[in-house]
């Protein structure tokens, strides 16, 4: 209610109503009272639940606290991006799980979005075979349980030969039921400048892309970006490596005893989870993309064609940017779902955050704490994703002039 713009007669009217009615007939006061009651209710329930939890835990000789995170975990984890052994703490074990979750989430979200966009466009193809195939794929994937799909992919990957009979498509590459083994670079601190040079290359490419865009706006000339991008993203790290005295030592997988030693591994659990979640999420993304493209009016296509643009360019330059406004909000939901669905990793034994938390819970009995930790981590991840997508949504929103 904007008091400042109220006319004199309205103000008088208000005074009259106020004087005539009791407080509970006034909408604003009543609203405040209800709000206060709700607040009290929430606080009382929350406090009672907390009190009960503490009392019940005390009755069972349990204490509430996070001190156990500093104690030795004593169990091994199947795969980790950071160094971890059984003598490390529960806190570090959880960090290993968190990094494993984020690894699958980031790679999977990128892959599923790319695949989903292509599928969404293919679904609208004039070729009935292509659109029919993609339609069939989407319906099958969307209408079967995700857990079933994960178990299915996992059993297919487990059917690969044993390490001794591994398939080797290229020298140094081995495909077996222990996963895909590839040659890799042995990590050492001298590699840090190379990593930073790589990051700098990406940043410089973005700056160059903007400069070229400005040039195109001013002169109408299109400068191809890829030679510059290639030079910056690959050339800069190469220069850094030479400057550091080429600290690149390759490690090549060699069969030793039960398994391969050396190289890097893409484990069956990681691959099954990534594959299952990507294919599943891409089906939803495809439908969102299709809906977005269909929301752009036919006139935009016709206008594009009358300008002499090819269908591909119309799609990329005219239709997709407009479709994004419809696509982004539901796409955010699929991203959030992807991150949360990674917790199904437990079913196929990928050591994600929930998997490690379960083991921690079993061993320490700190169920409440462990659930609080992973619930708040998932909440944080979701809120971060949401915040980023909202920012992006605001950027692509229609600017009305």
């Amino acid at each position: 209610m904007e008091v400042g713009t109220m006319s004199v007669s309205e103000a008088n009217q208000e005074r009259i109503t106020q004087s005539k009615t009791v407080w509970y007939n006034d909408a604003q006061t009543r609203g405040l009272v209800f709000q206060a009651m709700l607040l009290v209710l929430v606080v009382v329930i929350g406090f009672t639940a907390y009190q009960n939890m503490i009392a019940n835990m005390a009755a069972r000789g349990l204490l509430f606290g996070f001190d156990y995170l500093g104690r030795g975990a004593g169990f091994e984890i199947g795969e980790s991006l950071i160094p971890y052994t059984a003598t490390d703490t529960y806190g570090r074990a959880l960090l290993v799980g968190l990094i494993n979750t984020i690894r699958v989430a980031i790679i999977g979200i990128v892959l599923s979005t790319i695949l989903g966009v292509f599928l969404g466009i293919a679904r609208l193809s004039k070729n009935p075979l292509l659109s029919g195939l993609v339609g069939g794929y989407i319906e099958v994937i969307r209408n079967t349980p995700l857990v079933l799909q994960l178990v299915f992919w996992y059993s297919i990957i487990n059917a690969f030969p044993r390490p001794r009979e591994a398939i080797s498509p290229f020298p140094g590459f081995f495909l077996s039921n222990r996963g895909l083994k590839i040659p890799w670079i042995e990590w050492n601190d001298a590699l840090w400048p190379v990593v930073w040079a790589f990051v700098a290359g990406i940043v410089a490419t973005i700056i160059a892309a903007r400069a070229y865009k400005r040039k195109q706006d001013e002169t109408g000339k299109i400068t191809p970006l890829w030679p510059t991008a290639l030079g910056l993203i690959l050339g800069l790290p190469a220069l850094a490596a030479i400057a550091m005295g080429w600290p690149i030592v390759p490690t090549i997988p060699v069969l030793a005893g039960f398994n391969f030693e050396g190289g890097a591994t893409l484990t069956p659990e990681f691959f099954a989870l990534l594959l299952g979640l990507t294919l599943y999420t891409a089906a939803f993304t495809a439908e969102i993309v299709r809906a977005g493209i269909l929301s752009v009016s036919k006139g935009q296509w016709e206008a594009g064609r009358s300008l002499g643009l090819t269908d591909g360019r119309i799609m990329r330059l005219i239709v997709l940017p407009q479709a994004l406004r419809v696509i982004i909000p539901p796409l955010t939901s699929t991203f959030l779902n992807f991150t949360k669905n990674t917790s199904l990793a437990t079913v196929i034994g990928y050591p994600d955050l929930v998997h490690v938390s379960n083991t921690t819970m079993n061993q320490t009995g700190r169920a409440v704490e462990a659930i609080l930790i992973f619930a708040s981590i998932y909440l944080t991840l979701s809120l971060l994703t949401s915040a980023f997508m909202n920012w992006y949504n605001a950027r692509v929103a229609l600017r009305e002039r």
Partner: protein, 343 residues
């Protein structure tokens, strides 16, 4: 504010769990009054407790429960078997849904004491965590497993024991941990892992479920101690004695050569005072224990045989599980089965 208090009270009631108080002798009296002994068994573990084609429970643990029913009620058929899972078994005992658990629960200090207040009167089976490997790997000892991938079921101690074992031997391994036993077994059969670890008896049962059981061996290493016993609630000394002395009577019968086939003849003709006291021909052991009849041991052995006979019938080398006696042999043959004297 009344509705709020109501909601709060409901929430409190929801969260709060009661622990029933136990008086001495109460549980035994309740069983006698009811006329039925309720045993909590695991849901279908071959050899230990599994329903047959007629839906009748069969197995080592089942026979033990029926033996208890003879001691308490004088009739092996006055039993009710209640299937429990590893999660539900202890709550079922705490809230009185079952009188006794005979389902391979390991005796530990925290289960014996504290808030749980359970009682393990006697050990009926000594188990230990073991390693199952495919025969073609030609492995004879756990120490040879450097670099192996190990299939582990997530549990309270299995993951810790396997980690300790590899650390003690200064070798490395990669764990593969999956919640579902079936999924884990499939991964092992597909060769995703080289080793499957669990308690020895559980591994033997699992081996019978593999496509070709003979292609897999259980290594001699024991990674942990898992003494398994019947479990009852604390606070009933009479029931504690009956459970313990029923298990020990079976062991004592084996040690003294009393079998299902010869028990009648021995009871009638033996002059050995130890055997005469055990079988209730002499003395008043049954009365001292509060058993259903002085000759309850005769009745048990006549119905089920002695400890060794029950073991061999359900778990022994002639069964699909094919477990050697090992630790569960009599102390006179180098095992751990040792019954205090019945006198």
């Amino acid at each position: 504010m009344k509705p709020i208090l109501l909601v709060a009270a409901a929430a409190a009631a929801f969260v709060t769990l009661g622990v029933p108080a136990v008086e001495a002798g109460r549980d035994l009296d309740a069983i006698k009054a009811r006329g039925v002994l309720r045993c909590g068994v695991q849901t279908g573990t071959p050899g230990f407790a599994v329903p047959d084609a007629q839906g009748r429970w069969q197995g080592f643990n089942v026979d033990l429960c029926r033996a208890m029913a003879i001691t308490i009620l004088g009739d092996p058929s006055k039993v009710e078997f209640i299937p429990t899972t590893t999660q539900s078994r202890f709550p079922a005992l705490t809230n009185g849904e079952v009188d006794m658990l005979i389902n391979n629960a390991t005796q530990t200090l925290t289960r014996d004491t504290g808030v749980n207040r359970f009682n393990f009167p006697a050990i009926k089976f000594y188990d230990g965590q073991a390693l199952l490997v495919p025969r073609r790997l030609n492995i004879t000892q756990g120490r040879q497993l450097n670099g192996a991938t190990v299939c582990v079921q997530p549990g309270t101690t299995t993951e810790l024991n396997i980690t300790d074992f590899f650390r003690q031997n200064n070798i490395r391994f990669t764990p593969l941990v999956i919640d579902s036993v079936d999924e884990l077994r499939r991964a092992y059969e597909a060769g995703r892992c080289d080793v499957f670890t669990n308690d020895y008896a559980a591994l033997a049962a699992l081996r019978t479920q593999l496509a070709r059981p003979a292609d897999h061996v259980i290594l001699p290493d024991r990674l942990s101690k898992e003494p398994l016993g019947p479990v009852i609630r604390q606070g009933d000394e009479e029931l504690t004695n009956i459970v313990a002395w029923t298990v020990w009577a079976l062991v004592d019968a084996e040690e003294n050569g009393v079998t299902q086939a010869n028990v009648d003849r021995i009871a009638a003709s033996s002059t050995n005072p130890v055997i005469r006291r055990l079988l209730g021909v002499e003395g008043n052991m049954g009365q001292a224990l509060g058993a259903s009849s002085p000759t309850y041991v005769q009745q048990i052995v006549k119905t089920f045989g002695n400890y060794g006979e029950i073991y061999n019938r359900h778990l022994g080398p002639q069964t699909p599980l094919g477990l050697e006696r090992g630790m569960n042999d009599l102390w006179t043959r180098g095992g751990l089965m040792y019954a205090p004297p019945a006198r």
